[in-house]
Every structure is written in C-alpha cells, then in structure tokens.
Amino acid sequence: MVSRKDFIRNSALGFAGLAFVPGTLKEVNGTTSESAQTSGSYILKNVRLETGFAYENDEVIATHTALFAVEIENGVIKKISPNQPGAKNAVDAGGMLMLPAFRDMHIHLDKTFYGGPWQAVRRRTGGVKGMIALEQKILPDMLKNSTYKAEQLIELLQSKGTSFARSHVNIEPTSRLDSLKNLQKALENKKKVFGAELVAFPQHGVFYTDTALYLKEAAQAGIDFIGGVDPYTIDGAIEKTMDFTIQLALDHGKGIDIHLHESGESGLKTVEYLINKVNENPALKGKTYLSHCFVLGRLDRPQQEAIAEKLGAAQIGIVSTIPFGGLIMPIPTLLKHNVTVMTGNDSIIDHWNTFGSGSVLQKANLAAQLYGNTTEFGLSRTLKLATAGLLPLDDKGVQQWPKAGDQADMVFVDASCSAEAVSRISPVTSLIYKGNIVF
C-alpha cells in the first residue's frame, strides 16, 4: 500500500505546507476531467477513506483509513471497491482523503465586495437601521456587477472545498427582485459545478420598508426558504412579521430561515413564538432555521437546556457563524438535544464584515478550538459543521459514507483523517460536484 507520505514525497514541491498540487485529478494518467466527464462515468483510484477508529482502552486514539476505488456514474457514487492501483483509465486521487463536499449554510452570495478593491468597514451609527439606509444608497451600484461578483465568490468557496451553499438574497424595495435575478444568473452559469438553495431575505424589514409584496413575488420565483431579520427591532412587532413569514412559507411549501441577532427578551420571545408556530404547523418541521440566534448565548445554562430541548423537538435548526470573544453559542448543548447545527461564512468581504475566509473547514477548526474538541474523536465529530451533518464514520466508528447511491459530491484533502483535516485546516486538493470534477 502506498502511503500518503509517499505521495507527498513524490510530488513536485518539497515545501512543507505546500506539498500538494491543487487540481491533481485533472491530469493524472493522461485522463483529464474532460474525457472522464464526457463518458458520464469514471473510476477514481487511490481514494483514501476512513474505515474505523483505533481504540486504546475505551478511547479513540487514531482513525483507520485505506485506499479504495470509487466508481461514479451519472453524478452518483455507483460502487466502492478494493483499490485498483494499476487501473489504466482510472482518475488517480493520489491517496488524498475523500470527504463529503463542504457546505456553506449561511452566506450572502448576492452582495459582496469580493473580487473588487479592498474597502474596510466604516464605524457607523444608527445600528441595523443605519445599515439599511447605507444599503439603500449603495445597492443600485452593487447590483451592476453582482452576477460577476457572485461567481467570483463561488470560485473562492470552491477553492476551499465547498460545492453547495445556502445563500440569502436581498429582497427589498431598492433591489426588488434584481438581486435574486442576478444571483440566479450566476448560479445558472455555475450549475454544473456548484449547487445552492436560496433564502428570500427581507434585509430591510418586511414592513419597515414595504417589502411584503416583493417577498410574495419572490416566493414564486425559484427560492427555497422565506427569510427574515429581527422582527422586533426592524418591524416593531414580532407577531405580525412572523405570522406573515410563516404563512408565506406554508402557502408555497417553503422552509424558513430567519436572521435573529436580538439577544435580549425580544430575541427569546421570537424563538419561542417560532417554536410554537412550527409545532402548530408540522409541515415546517425539519425545514425551519434560525440564523445567528445570539440570544441562546445570553441565557443561563438551565434555560439553554430547556430551549435546546424545545428546538430539538420542533426540529428547528440553528445556523451559526461560530462567534467568539464576547458571546459564545451553546453549540454543544444544542447538539446534545439533537438540534441541527450548521455553519456558514456569512460575510466574506462586504460592508458588514471583511474577515470571512470562505472556508467552512476553518469554521469547524474554530469550533474545535472554542469548544475544546482536541482529541481524535472530538475533532473527527467536529467535521460535521463543514459538511452540514455528514460524517464518514458514525460515533461508533462504523463507516457510513460514502455509500453506493450517494450523490457524488466529494472533496479531497491532503490529510490522513477527518481529525487532522479539522485541526490543520488541511489543503483542499480537488472537488467533485454531482460527479463533475471541478478541479
């Protein structure tokens, strides 16, 4: 068996930390992705997969891996078989670790400065409403090339191993549906190599600006979720806005994903109101999310446990960018109560924030450090933040991914196992989306 270190040694660059060649899948054995793709089916060889945990006493001390051949057909994993190192027409994965492709579950692909000149955030007064006024001023200009910038941003995410995003898209009287249309153009251009689900996001309030009409229109224009933002702060009332949002989701069979930054009483009331409504309307279970939901970080332990239990029962998920410093989200508590927790970059570089790396593996790394997941087991479990839940091994160490029939969305990293990938933010060497080799 050829080890990963051998592959590294044989690669062109000797520099520690740079000892990988991105896009290796493109040109190994004379099989380019082009020719592989045109046939619609191909075999990957020398694919490293996790096969189990190594234990000492009761503790996981390492992760076993082995090399396999993986057959892809029509965008789906058809078969996983023993490695065929000599296979002539196979695409060589070079011993890199194959993981479920990363998923960024909270981002704004429609409004970014990425790809344009550097511009720091300005200290602004007036809070979120001040930001709304700012957006009303700058959005018309930003919309002029927002398709191009979305594509640039998608390419950044891909370079970090992400092949799918849940993107919020501004719906408000300034952009009307143009932000959505421009983003949909970018996604259409990228559809072979990148997937997305869209949240119609009333960034300027549902009623604070006259947005309800546009949301209704958006609900019929190819979006997947009805969004929202701080109903109390922006619209002045929780119930009216929430009722509108929920009804719109129900009427059109959509999910819900609401930005909730409010960390005080109104934040908690909003969470509780949503829990009750979802329980009244079980159609919304499993497709309702709260993004940020900072209020959970402000509660005391017993309250956190109680709310987490209710969220788990109502199958409402939390999407967090993993804040640190001040407020810490009770992510371990949420996970304990089977609440779906996902992460995303949110801003990469825009008028809100300029710190986003585009890597959800980096977010998982941040969570591992923040919550003290430093062991092999703890690190390996933390990978699920980058993959929106999917892990190669279950908690007992039994292989659960990949399986025949899974959509062929995979990322290859220069790591020996998930734990290493999370801890070292290992370099991404290749990405496959629906069987298409992106690089």
Partner: protein, 414 residues
Amino acid sequence: METAYHILAGNSYTLKNVRLETAFVFDEDGVTATRTGLFCITVSNGKITRVFPNDAPLPHAIDAKGYLMLPAFKDMHVHLDKTLYGLPWQALSPRRRTVRDMIAYEQEIIPTLLKTSTARAEQLISLLQSYGTSFARTHFNVDTTSGLRSLENLQKALDNKQDSFKAELVAFPQHGLYYTDSAPLMKEAAQLENVDFIGGLDPFSIDNGIQKAIDLTVQLAIDHNKGIDIHLHDGGKEGLRTITYLAEQVLQNPQLKGRTFVSHAFVLAQLQSKETEAVAEKLAAAGMGIVSAIPFRGAAMPIPALLKHGVEVLMGNDNVQDYWSTFGTGNMLQKAHLMAELYGWVTEFELSRTLRFATRNILPLNNEGHMQWPKAGDKAALVLVNASCSAEAVSRMSATVAFAHDEGSLYWKS
C-alpha cells in the same frame, strides 16, 4: 533548502515597483483608506540605503511587481525544538491533563524526538517562512531528559537556515528548575553565547515557590547579561504575585528593563479592570513586556489595556502541531487577523494598527499617517505581500510573495 522560495538576490540589491504606504485618506469620520505609491529601494549589506521615486529606468533592478512591502514578520513565541510538525498526525490524548502529566510524557518521548529534531525544526521554519516569517524568538527545552541536546539540535537547524531565518533563543526549563533538577543545566545554558533569554515556567505550580525560582532566573540573567522570558500559566493570586515579584526584581535591576517578558500571563485575563490597569502600570514602569498567543477560549487577554499603558505586547504562534496543541497555523497574519476579530478592530485605521503584532511593533505609517518605515538606515528585514495596504493584509491574511531578513538573501516564492 527545502522551500518553495528561491534566492533572488544576496543582501545587496535594488527593488523597483515596490508598493509602500504613504498616507491615510481621511474624511470627517476618520481614516477611510490607505494611500500607497510605487517606489524603488536600494539595499546594501542588509541595510536600506535609499528609498526613491519609481520613475528612473533601472534595467537591473528586481521587479517587485507592485506588491506591498511590509516590515518582516516575527514570531515572538514558538518552540522550534520540539514539534511534531512533519510527523504523522496525532491528536491530543484525553489522558494528559495537567502540566505535570505533560512533563512525565515528555520524559518518555524526548529521547525519540531528539533523534529527528533538527530536521523537524527546519520543516517548521519552512512553514513559518511560507507565511513570510523570517525571525522567531524560540524557546528550547532545558531539562534533565534533554540536557542541552535540544539546543544543540536546534542550533544546527538554525545554522542550516541562517541565510533565510534568524532567531533569538530562550533557555526554557520546561520541567521546572527544582521539580526536576534542572537548575544546574540552566546555569550551564546561561553561559552560552547563543542563548539570549533565561526562560521559566510557573514557579508556583511547578516549583512550589515563586521567590526561589524567580530569584535564580533573575540572577542568571544578570550574571550573564541575558533577557528574561518566562511562561506563566498560573492564575489566581499566585499568578499575579509572580508578575509583581518579577516586576519588583526588574525595578531593582534596571539592566533588565526592556528585556524582561512574561509569556501567556493568563492571570491578566482574570482580573477586574481596575486591577488590570494597576498591573499594566507596574509592567510599564518596569519596562516589562507580555507575549501572547492570543487565546480566545474564555476570557480574552486585556491587550487594549496593556497597550494603553505603554506595555510592549508581542505575539507568537507558540505550538504549531505537537502534543500540547495541534491548532497552530504558523501564520503571523492569521494571529493578527484573530486579534482584529477578537478585539473588534475592524476599521481601516484599526486594522492597519493591528499589523504591528506581526512585525514586532514596526508599522509603515504612524498614527497620524506619516511614513515612518522604510527609511534609509533601517535594517532590510522585509516581506512582500499580495495586498493593497496593511489593513487588507490583516483582514484578508494576504499571501506572502517574498521575504528577507537583514543579514540574509532576498527570497521569492517560486
């Protein structure tokens, strides 16, 4: 040299199309952007001798291609001598919980680690260099298991890397001065010319006595004309007492001012703001610095308060990948970025000031936006990054394209 960089010039060269920061752009609310221009720079024998306009035709000059030149990145706390970087992945064990557990573990594995520690130190240096760092303050173990072999192996690595990397060395009694019988070894290390600082570790919790351990540390530093840089993880009143006792010794021995440091000093993050201010004042009066790896789990270090009182704050990666932690990136811009996020330094001005933690406090522009670096006479310790200004470099962790320390060659990324 195992690196993706190649030597572009020795220590004398002229660069053209070098981007330098020249001023801030202001409006009524403050700094809105950083102005830059393209320049030529002449370096002779590791010194910048001329900074001049970019308009003269200079066919023999090296083309810096418009990349931004910044002061060299310096990692001010790292352990180059005992890393697992380059070895197969190994997560932390849940069994080793205390520093004393770790000491026992080190006694077990150090003999094996020493066999390859020169090669691994070089690999770790290469990692730091890939992020533009060309200088480090590295601690090296002095303990009854390693003796002085950790130093010898590290020195070999540094010799091999001397054209591209410089370091200052801290003799670090990782297993205590008295908890294991390391005091005699420390006395030996203190006499060596290549040792710059006397280190230390939690006098209270490891050696069971603040005074005795600090007194020896201070005495060695004074006797051999070294600085001091001790690891202090101890919290509570003992942690605080360690700092104040050391400060008292420094005040009595002014030759230690400006060269005495406390690394980590987690106790500062546990204090009420009034206490913090008082300690910061004492540190400043004693000319003592704090070196931090910028922890962000739990309470943050009161770095803004330290800076307000004029305390020198240095920053380092500490562990990159070893049995203490596996999370280090080796990237000083990543640490600066972390600081900016942690302390909410988000504007152009704040981000640009944050760069100083990557450069050991050298900044291209002063707070008023006047150019202060590089100037003729400055050491040619520099880095070129793919960014439009310092603020962008910090916020976006921009990639490095070239670096040089002042006594070595100019290296360019292949």
